[in-house]
């Protein structure tokens, strides 16, 4: 409970390894941080530390996948999606092999390491690749379930997990993650907030505060950013007619863009995006940086007021 999504990823990977001998894991010298070491400790014969060589790691994962393995290849998000982008493009997505790319320490919540280590573009560049599925879980319960779901799904996928611990919003008991489906976390009629990752608890908090003002905000957890649940978005747009998106990354090409792509074609309504305004991050404590970039409830409320004015 209330742990980082990377912790849940590591636990899920370890547990998957117990039941599925085809699960293998690779890391690029960050296994302790991405938590893939939890798998490595229990299944050392199926864990490969590739050293600090993300390109080789992805290529190796692709080779394993052609032989029926289900490789999870982890590193910091910025390195695994950026350094190895073209390997993911050609050896994974173009070859259409069953490799799961896992990027941790994504977004400014990565914290003190600063801009070189905070992926802001990963959702955009992974989303741009044909065959790719992109998942950004909101909490530890969802991260665990999403990892299991991606192991069951055949095809390339990108899982984005966070360094920072965040509040658990899902009941573990009876929770079911459905790949490709958005989740209505809170019903509302005046406005819809679509969020992913660590922004989901903040969206829920904003909705509570808006309710105190008599504004009914719907909250959607869009963990699967690709393929996005277009039907749910259209339904929301028809109902509330006003959409706010919030994500912990660049506004260029991310969740907000994906939502706008759907709605501009199928149900044009005002869409306001909250995210990083085409900038790299800075050093600082991760939780403080989220507020520094106004990735918070206050910003959602402010935009809601503007849209409802």
């Amino acid at each position: 409970m209330n742990s980082a999504t990377r912790e849940a990823y590591g636990a899920a990977l370890r547990d998957l390894g117990r039941v599925n001998p085809n699960i293998v894991a690779l890391d690029a010298d960050l296994a302790g941080s991405t938590k893939s070491a939890m798998f490595g400790k229990e299944h050392p014969d199926r864990f490969f530390d590739m050293g600090i060589s993300e390109a080789d790691m992805i290529g190796t994962a692709a080779g394993l996948a052609t032989c029926g393995k289900i490789p999870f290849a982890s590193s910091f998000s910025v390195f695994v999606t950026g350094r190895a982008f073209e390997q993911i493009r050609n050896s994974v997505c173009n070859a259409n092999v069953n490799v799961k790319v896992v990027g941790s320490h994504a977004g400014p919540s990565c914290g003190e390491d600063g801009s070189s280590h905070q992926a802001v573009e990963d959702i955009a560049i992974m989303r741009a690749l044909p065959h790719m599925t992109v998942v950004v879980p909101a909490d530890d319960v969802e991260a665990y379930a999403a990892t299991v779901a991606l192991a069951d799904h055949t095809g390339p996928a990108y899982l984005r997990v966070a360094r920072l611990a965040s509040p658990t919003i899902h009941e573990e008991e009876g929770y079911k993650f459905v790949l490709g489906k958005g989740e209505v976390l809170r019903e509302g009629t005046d406005i819809t907030v679509v969020a992913c990752g660590m922004m989901v608890p903040r969206a829920l908090h904003a909705a509570e505060l808006l309710a105190d003002e008599g504004i009914s905000a719907e909250v959607i957890n869009m963990a699967t950013v690709k393929p996005i649940d277009a039907d749910l978005l259209v339904e929301c747009a028809k109902k509330t007619g006003k959409i706010i998106t919030i994500e912990e990354g660049s506004m260029v090409g991310g969740l907000g863009t994906a939502v706008a792509e759907v709605l501009s074609e199928r149900c044009p309504v005002p869409v306001r995006r909250i995210g990083l305004p085409d900038v790299f991050g800075i050093s600082g404590p991760g939780d403080q940086l989220l507020d520094y970039y106004r990735l918070n409830a206050g910003h959602i409320i402010e935009v809601a007021h503007e849209l409802l004015a």
Partner: protein, 270 residues
Amino acid sequence: MCNDLLSIAREMRVHIVEMLAAAGSGHPGGSLSATDIIADLYFQHMRLDPENPAWEDRDRFVLAKGHAAPALYAALALRGYFPVEDLQGLRKIGSHLQGHPCMSSTPGVDMSTGSLGQGLSVANGMALAGRIDGRSYYVYCLMGDGELQEGQVWEAAMSAAHYGLDHVIAFVDHNGLQIDGHNDEVMTVTPIDEKFRAFGWDVVCIDGHDFKQIDDAIAHAKATKGKPTLVVCETVKGKGVSFMENQVDWHGVAPTPEQATAAVAEIRGL
């Protein structure tokens, strides 16, 4: 078998020239330099079943220098993976023969390639999977010499040695030429053998057009335990077609129909 291989390689070269002429684009030079290596692998060494391309115990082949696809396609067609007539569809809309190897469209292609530098990592992954599953298959990987300029090759060279992947047998088609000129003018890659030895590989240097030497190198590689083997093959770009041999301009230009006719006559010794 060597005589058979000679005639098979000759037939492959004819198909390479003819399919490239029909396509109107593609890479003859590096296809012809790699032909004998690929012929020897597919008709002498590799454990395969063309009736069952996905056979789990088959040997694998990764054409890291994916632009030599015509040589691979010729071998696969002659080996019975698909009709020889399909070769005429190379690079055309609706054909399963893409400009660079595509595993989801062409039967018998073990890995999609085309972007240089990525194949050796993939071969390593295949070998690791074989180790996990206790299978005995070998993974053959054919790289270009210019390809060695890609940093990922050296990452993969480190990994193969680190994990002791003795079922990886890699070849370098060392024809000395790349698009912009001679390797030594563009970016020096030699000494290839010393570099790979320093990375922990077993290395053999041979004439890449001599089947006996290719056979001996593979036998040596299979006898080598605990480390991967690299076979550095001295080759001639455009081998078998005199007006293409050692000509950098024939890296990525298809022959005209007239040139193809002359080339085929020469290959067939007419």
